[in-house]
Amino acid sequence: MNQLPVEYLFFVGAIGLVGIGVAGMLLCRNLFRVLLALVIAEAGANLLLVLTGYRWDAVAPIVLPGMPAGTTMVDPVPQALVLTAIVIGVGIQAFAVAVLIKIYHGYGSLDRRRLAAMLDRDMNELAGVGPGRSPEAPAGKRPFPPPEQQEGRS
């Protein structure tokens, strides 16, 4: 009955996937890779969810002909949840790829930081305000000096 290490292993696997995925989402700079990291994190969460319904002494939750009554089965509920979650995941993923294509068309880059800077500039342009926190386009009077100097662009 010394099955302890195996259960640790499953958990380590699931949580490791989540950890790697989330770390990738936060640290990678290429947006396509960030999307891949999200996929990995989702797979980890799904694995963890299936683990919650697992039993050692049980069989898959399918009644087969000739199966003795009262056979223990694993919990079907988390499995159903994971089925749902997987399909949801792929739908969102396809949409994300389409958006990514458009972003690449629009900005010519997938680098997260460069894109963030360009988004900032775009939003300022859209709103008709100058780049950065410049002192010459304030609303009314500002009692404090601007906290940061204008960035490189004029």
Binding site: F10, G13, L17, L35, I40, V82, V97, A98
Partner: protein
């Protein structure tokens, strides 16, 4: 025996997942993410979840890789020697 198999699979899975994050080649990254799904689906079989395993194999390893590959082609990253400049 079971422990050994699971240990090998888990290590393989985590290593592949890390590979997704660090490999400079995007095609390899997509392939690796598909491989992660494949290992996960094997784990699902061991956890007695055949339905989930089938779905993960069909959706995660097959379809999702296809979607990502189509995306890569459109993004112009479909090159084997592509060292992305954008990734740190």
């Amino acid at each position: 025996m079971m422990t050994m198999v699971v240990a090998v699979l888990v290590v393989l899975m985590l290593a592949t997942a890390l590979l997704v994050l660090v490999t400079p080649n995007m095609i390899a990254a997509v392939a690796a993410s598909s491989a992660v799904s494949l290992v996960v689906s094997v784990l699902f079989v061991m956890l007695r979840a055949p339905d989930v395993a089938m779905t993960e194999a069909a959706v995660g390893a097959g379809l999702s890789a296809m979607v990502l590959a189509l995306g890569l082609r459109r993004l112009g990253l479909w090159k084997l020697d592509n060292r992305e400049k954008d990734d740190a």
